[in-house]
Symmetry: C2
């Protein structure tokens, strides 16, 4: 039995589990998960009724050597290792207040945003690393990370580029209204990179799309902005739309750009089922279409990476690179609207 | 000001801090830390008295744009994300009972062992990944991980190799006395690898030495034992004896062996200041000699890695490779006895 099957059966030993919670209890990408799920149904190991999954009698027999030892994920910090302390609770409160009228996520740009708590934890982590000072470049800011980071009053300057004019306007207006050191500009990563932004920043932050061509573009633009050795990048990557084989390619890209991976925290960021988030157009997502039931569990999470330049940073792409659809979609993008 | 200096000054904003706690609050290797520390003293930014460090008046001026926002590391799980739940508390109790007469760490093999809680968390993490079943290969087992894992009664078989006959005997005796499915054998990673152990195991677990030649040997021996694609490796690496440049080389090795890094949890394992641990010979460690004061804080921690084969695993070294001293020592091994 392979590991992914074991993870699924282990989870089902406690009884009936939502299929979306099962997705969260295993490490395969969505399309791989769906294959295993179909196989388990076909082999009469599991049964499913309106999105609730349980072991069949023969399934219980097959799983008899597996064990579920109960929960060992820390509920105090949601398994992230970071709590929101007194100081950051106040920043969280102000952040929530500012972003409450944020533009809704739209399907055309594959948008989606992580929870406010997740954003604050990112700021804490970057602060702990000594990286919250200086100049920060943000590529794509559906998460409105720039606002949370600026509320600490530590970054010298935050510069945001985003393809979505609504977000750029929202950020620039918030910056003006609340006196935050942020500047946002409309920019599509496919365009040639503005010369004046090169080699000016200490760190970058991004939540890239997860296709290989898209990642190449996001990383290359982000890396072009960094000053040099010691500069760092922070970003989230899922296991859901990026299989382990894709991660292998991603890690090679990071190496080739001259960066070492220093951190990789699983499920650090959660995309909440919020009325302005991408769950509103979930019926367009392949995983939802294929399962035939709507989400009832916050299953979309990402691993938080930190990378640091040990050589002069080397973007993989320079100049314009038009790839359109390919930026957003490949055979693993099962949580991206089709 | 570079990031490491900022991390140190950030930590000192609360007042006097032990130099060993400072080591734990920054990301540089021990030799790099010591350089920065000397520089801060020379520039009259910090002062030190019997191992206690504080900012000078001019230091406070220089640090005036930095902020310490208080602790945001989760105390409930020690920042690891994993708690020891009811089931594992019982395993921890039995593990402690069995290992209480463990052989002391000896300097000749650069031994040292992580806390019992840290070992249990490793077992939980491996279980969560669906990797605790099947055959487990352990290269070097000062931590007595094999005993904790076997106490779950899940692994089909655990095979341990260690250079230290005392440990091998201890493990084999414990296995016999408590009916655990573990077998241990004396083996030095420099020797040619036993043919009968090749391609037989599902996962490996190791805490390698941290020199590049030593890592090559540990990884190569461990990787030789794995069955193929999907097999995984678990190990700890510090930032203290392995700089970011060394990590960059390590990540390249992992890639070249055909593995993707799937997890990397900072400070997952702590080496406690226990009377049988390597702190008993701390006066032989370069960092202690250089600082001139004994440790008063559990500063030696490691990042826990998980790697998974996406190609047929390819060891970097085959056959015998005699390198002696070089296995254990390089210019970064400042927590290794000289």
């Amino acid at each position: 039995m392979d590991r992914i099957k074991r993870q699924i059966l282990q989870a089902l030993l406690v009884g009936e589990v939502s299929v979306y919670e099962l997705i969260d209890r295993q490490d395969a990408s969505l399309n791989e998960f769906f294959e295993v799920f179909k196989e388990l149904l076909r082999e009469n190991i599991i049964e499913v009724d309106r999105g609730k999954v349980k072991l069949t009698k023969s399934g219980r027999e097959i799983a008899k050597n597996l064990r579920n030892f109960g929960n060992y994920c820390c509920i105090n910090c949601e398994g992230t290792g970071y709590v929101i302390n007194k100081h950051f609770s106040e920043i969280l409160r102000r952040y929530r207040e500012i972003v409450k009228n944020r533009p809704e996520a739209v399907d055309v740009y594959d948008q989606g945003f992580i929870s406010p708590e997740g954003i604050i934890r990112r700021v804490e982590f970057i602060h702990e690393r000594g990286d919250l000072y200086g100049k920060i470049f943000v590529v794509g800011d559906d998460d409105l990370f720039s606002i949370a980071a600026a509320l600490t009053d530590l970054p010298e300057k935050i510069f945001v580029v985003d393809i979505d004019e609504r977000l750029v306007n929202f950020i620039n207006n918030a910056a003006k209204e609340y006196g935050l050191r942020i500047e946002a500009m409309v920019y599509d990563v496919q365009q040639a990179f503005p010369e004046e932004l090169r080699r000016k920043f200490d760190i970058f932050v991004t939540d890239p799309v997860e296709t290989i061509p898209g990642l190449k573009l996001f990383f290359s633009r982000a890396v072009s902005t960094l000053k040099g050795v010691g500069s760092a990048g922070y970003f989230g990557i899922t296991t859901l739309e990026a299989s382990r084989r894709k991660w292998y390619e991603i890690e090679k890209m990071i190496y080739d750009m001259g960066f070492v991976i220093t951190d990789m925290i699983r499920k650090f960021s959660v995309y909440p089922d919020d009325e302005r988030n991408f769950f509103t157009f979930q019926e367009k997502l392949p995983i939802v279409k294929n399962l035939g039931v709507k989400s009832d569990y916050p299953w979309y999470k990402s691993t938080f990476f930190r990378i640091e330049a040990v050589k002069d940073p080397k973007p993989l792409v320079e100049g314009e690179m038009k790839i359109d659809e390919e930026v957003y979609k490949d055979e693993e993008s099962w949580a991206t609207p089709y």
